[in-house]
């Protein structure tokens, strides 16, 4: 232990700890931020870009209206041919279509999650520019392992949750989250001759339902 305390002191001494950061002007103001922070697309084009970018990285995307969401979820479940699904503790009950085994997570054992055929979650945000879905692992998005172990991930993304640029996502983080997973398409590798293979250890299938706003031009 004392060796480590010595290492800490030695490293910090070499780095001249304490210089600059504390007390001085906010250093973040020194960063040139003339990169694109805000998107320029109208809401429909933003949603269209999100869908296009999701598809480009092998995610399957369908669209529906808020009223049609429960039916669309049921249709996706039926089409998947899967039976047992894990869900986070706080999903709207109408999402859990009848006729399937629903395992409500809280503290399910790892093996129990592993035995599920799929997972259904909400999300915090979608970033159109890169086709990225962001999970903060709240009660509607679930613990990290439930969107990891099952082979099929169905994710509900509302149009109001879609931002165009990555900086716009960071602007939406009023509170800095403790856990985040940025998901861009299903698990993949290109380690063998740079051939992109979909599905290694994470879910091999990522399906996204984009819920469009009711009226035209409705903003969040």
């Amino acid at each position: 232990m004392s060796a480590m305390v010595a290492a800490r002191a030695a490293i910090l001494k070499k780095l001249g700890a304490g210089t600059g950061v504390s007390g001085g002007a906010a250093p973040s103001e020194l960063i040139p931020r003339d990169y694109i922070r805000r998107g320029s697309l109208d809401p429909d084009a933003r949603v269209a870009k999100m869908i296009e970018r999701l598809r480009e990285y092998d995610a399957e995307v369908t669209e529906c209206t808020p009223d049609g969401l429960a039916a669309e979820i049921a249709a996706q479940l039926a089409r998947s041919g899967r039976k047992t699904f894990v869900v986070p503790s706080r999903l709207p009950p109408e999402w859990l279509a009848a006729g399937y085994n629903w395992k409500i997570d809280g503290d399910l054992a790892t093996e129990e999650v592993e035995s599920c055929d799929g997972v259904l979650t909400g999300c915090f945000c979608g970033v159109a520019d890169s086709g990225t879905i962001v999970l903060h692992h709240s009660a509607a998005q679930g613990r990290r392992l439930i969107s990891l172990l099952p082979d099929w991930h169905l994710c509900v993304l509302r149009a109001s949750q879609i931002v165009e640029t990555l900086p716009e996502y960071f602007d939406r983080c009023i509170q800095i989250p403790a856990l985040v997973t940025w998901i861009s398409g299903p698990s993949a590798t290109a380690d063998i001759e740079m051939t992109r293979i979909k599905g290694v250890h994470g879910p091999r299938f990522l399906n996204v339902i984009v819920v469009k706003e009711q009226g035209p031009g409705t903003r969040d």
Partner: protein, 484 residues
């Protein structure tokens, strides 16, 4: 690969670059594999960079964010430690590789760990962690597909992002079929990937201890972020009871929102994707979600010394994307093993010698044509050519005092040249003599293909243009006389 001998990736033991590069240059399969892989990544990167109108602004911001962190590194590390500790993490400090290995082994002993799963981490390769753990009786399972290929095939990494890019599909098939006992495995990448998934699934679910590296440490919150593609990282970060993260001290960035820049430049530069499939961020320990014990080992191992010079400090901005090696005309010919370090390519050529305090790998700063493409593609704007030149000067200064240098044929030649170039009449006389002597070696095509003795050092790897019948200054004189 085909030459049974393993490359040495330890800068202390590795031969100088020109010597190490020779067997690589003769291995046509390896060169084909490297050329194919780097071509593919470069094309994808170029397309995605072109679609970003603000690419140069992002590079400038990324460079400045890293600079800000490096200028105030001690303070940001202390802030990271404080925040991470407050959220239930345990922060350790290691001055060198031996200390880091001892800390990690100590934690594994406390955990009674006989097995450990690992996410690809270059820093752990830098401190040669795997052989150390093996020797201590802890079985290490690499989980990144490329790392599995290397571990099972007992091969060495040749690239920092795609460490097995020098291995092709039939070579992977051979390794997997032999070590996993799958005799009817085909060389279809889908089948090979599925074999890896099956091979590791139980390990992910059962091994309670994991080791990871880090892409970013967030000083503001004490969080750690890791980018990956396959989900093996998420497995290691989520399922085990205990997680140990090894991170170089230069990985820290000031704020959470700095990721809005770093994540935009990293994946585009590394794999030519808008975003890599998975990026994970966690903060200390979260009750009910993920490991209940979390350790971070902050590693110096030569970094704090690199920071002292303002020019060389740029080296520590590196976010390990590998774009410089994909673009480098030298790396693309030799592959990674010639660099004698786990950090190959242009960044390796400046990082490796500096990490050893310039005591080893002194040939690496010379392993470059200084064409500048590495600087151009670098997402954090490291002026690699500038640092290469400065390190060359430092290496030369180092040698200046050596007695052996006095008799070294190269330096002897330099001194003679120095004398000749300083007096016009001596220069002309030498030129006249050289023309007579070199004529013997000049072939009909006007080129010299081989020279004896010390001259062979040049003609071994390149041809030399024969001296012209008439030197420029005599032609000039003649011309002036004629026009008079």
């Amino acid at each position: 690969m085909s030459h049974g001998q393993q490359p040495i990736l330890d800068p202390v033991l590795a031969p100088p670059f020109p010597q190490a590069a020779l067997p690589m240059l003769r291995d046509s399969q390896l060169r084909k594999n490297v050329a194919h892989a780097t071509d593919v990544i470069q094309a994808k990167r170029a397309r995605l960079v072109a679609e970003k109108p603000d690419w140069q602004a992002l590079r400038s911001a990324a460079a400045r964010i890293k600079d800000e962190a490096l200028e105030n590194l001690g303070a940001y590390l202390e802030q990271f430690e404080e925040q991470c500790t407050a959220r239930g993490g345990v922060v350790h400090w290691a001055a060198d590789a031996a200390e880091a290995r001892a800390i990690i082994l100590g934690i594994l002993r406390e955990e009674n760990a006989s097995e450990v799963i690992k996410i690809k981490t270059m820093t752990s390769a830098e401190i040669q962690l795997n052989p150390h753990l093996d020797a201590a009786g802890v079985k290490v399972f690499e989980t990144d597909l490329a790392e599995i290929i290397l571990q099972l095939g007992e091969l060495e990494p040749s690239h920092i992002v795609a460490p097995a890019l020098h291995v092709n599909r039939s070579q992977v098939r051979e390794i997997f079929a032999r070590t996993m006992g799958l005799s009817d495995l085909t060389d279809d990448p889908h089948a090979l990937t599925a074999a890896a998934r099956h091979y590791l699934r139980r390990k992910f679910l059962e091994v309670p201890t994991a080791i990871s590296g880090a892409n970013f440490l967030i000083a503001e919150t004490g969080a750690v972020a890791i980018v990956e593609s396959e989900g093996n990282g998420r497995m290691c970060l989520t399922l085990p009871r205990t997680l140990i993260t090894l991170a170089g001290i230069e990985k820290v960035v000031p704020r959470y929102s700095d990721l809005e820049v770093m994540l935009q430049v990293l994946a585009r530069s590394a794999t030519g994707e808008r975003m890599n499939p998975y990026t994970s961020l966690w903060t200390g320990v979260t009750p009910g979600d993920g490991p209940t014990r979390f350790h971070v080992v902050l590693l110096d191992n030569g970094r704090s010394a690199i920071r002292l010079s303002e020019r060389e400090r740029q080296t520590l901005r590196c976010i390990r994307c590998g774009a410089c090696m994909n673009a480098c005309p030298v790396y693309r010919q030799t592959g990674g093993h010639a660099y004698g370090s786990i950090y190959p390519g242009p960044i390796g050529a400046i990082l490796t010698p500096q990490l050893t305090g310039l005591k080893h790998a002194q040939s690496l700063p010379f392993a470059s044509s200084l064409c500048g493409v590495c600087y151009e593609v670098c997402p954090v704007k490291i002026n690699i050519p500038e640092i290469l030149i400065d390190l060359r000067a430092q290496v030369t200064d180092q040698e200046r005092g050596k007695a052996a240098r006095f008799f070294d044929p190269m330096y002897l030649g330099m001194r003679v040249a120095n004398l000749l170039f300083s007096r016009a009449w001596l220069f002309h006389a030498a030129q006249w003599k050289a023309r007579i002597v070199l004529r013997i070696f000049t072939r009909k095509d006007g080129w010299i293909h081989s020279l004896p003795g010390i001259g062979a050092k040049w003609t071994q790897t390149r041809d030399l243009r024969g001296l012209p019948k008439q030197p420029f200054h005599s032609w000039w004189k003649q011309r002036k006389q004629a026009s008079r």
